[in-house]
Symmetry: C2
Subunit: 199 residues, 2 copies
């Protein structure tokens, strides 16, 4: 009873993260009410993503036609300071602060079980090679910007040991009470860390 | 810093109902992590919607190449009983009950101010013509399946008057306490309607 094209749309879109069957259905009906040119704009927007791939140097997203990502290509940034993050969106968050002027390595999300996988190993290997080839074997700073979770801590310790001779300084993000937060509502672990790392 | 193609994607998708800037951004990054063929499937799904237009008889969605929608074309359905609904998704909801075997007219959503617009007028005119041409001037039943709101009631009264000589029976959907609902939690208006319409 629902036209095929709509059923097909729902079938493929309902599997995407923000959607379920209901949202995908609502979106399908909404889209059919749009004029043709708006639909064409959406199709172009989606098709445009085919022009995205990953930077061979830091694995952040880049335009297919570009050699590296915009961050690796920016002359004003310091390639001797490297922040290791789990995912692309972490870069977006860090860039939004305007406080990091170094480069990055997108490491890949840490698996639930905490053990590094081959993909993580390969990216660490390219990082080691990058430090060897471009920075004479030693970076100024390596910030292990992994999430402050048990697995993040575990992986960070491991990477810190492996890279101990490849960076002058190895750091992690500060940990404590969020700005604007209240001591009363901080959990014990956070408060403990805030105490230990008091400045 | 974010590749152009991703910014363009976000710019067009963030305007769609289920999205905001954050959801559109998250979706964009998720999509870049998919393999090429999944992305192609999504593009095909979205492009497929170009093959949808509206049934000239009841204004429900149909395949562009089909003359009418699947409901109007179904031989087992009764064309002498017509349910007037506001929107496509109301048809989906009614069809899901499996209790309506008649045809439909998609009337268009009622505006906030309650006054019928030209588009509603035009669709009512095609309904009148359909009753005249196909049903010899009189339908068996016209169900005014508009929402049970003040504007829905107002429009229904108006349409009922206009079509009083064009249908043997003009009805509205039953109104009362939802199945599974509790009297204690029903608002006064609903409870009042339930009393008045007791069966």
């Amino acid at each position: 009873m629902i036209p095929d094209a709509i059923q097909k749309f729902i079938a493929v879109f309902e599997k995407l993260p923000p959607f379920g069957p209901r949202t995908a259905t609502r979106l399908a009906f909404h889209l059919t009410s749009l004029d043709r040119s708006t639909l064409e704009t959406l199709i172009a927007g989606l098709s445009g993503l085919k022009e995205i791939d990953r930077c061979p140097r830091c694995f952040f997203l880049k335009e297919r036609r570009a050699r590296t990502c915009a961050i690796c290509a920016a002359p004003a940034r310091n390639p001797r300071a490297i922040a290791l993050v789990e995912k692309d969106t972490d870069i977006i968050s860090l860039e939004r602060t305007g406080r990091w002027k170094g480069h990055y390595l997108v490491f890949g999300e840490l698996p639930e079980h905490g053990v590094l996988e081959t993909s993580h190993r390969l990216r660490l290997a390219t990082l080691a090679k990058r430090i060897a080839d471009e920075l004479g074997g030693k970076a100024d700073e390596l910030v292990l910007a992994l999430n402050p979770t048990a697995f993040g801590d575990f992986a960070a310790d491991l990477i810190a040991r492996e890279f101990s001779d490849k960076a002058i300084k190895i750091s992690r993000l500060g940990r404590g009470i969020p700005t604007g937060g209240e001591i009363e509502f901080a959990d014990e672990e956070t408060l403990g860390q805030a105490l230990e790392r008091r400045t």
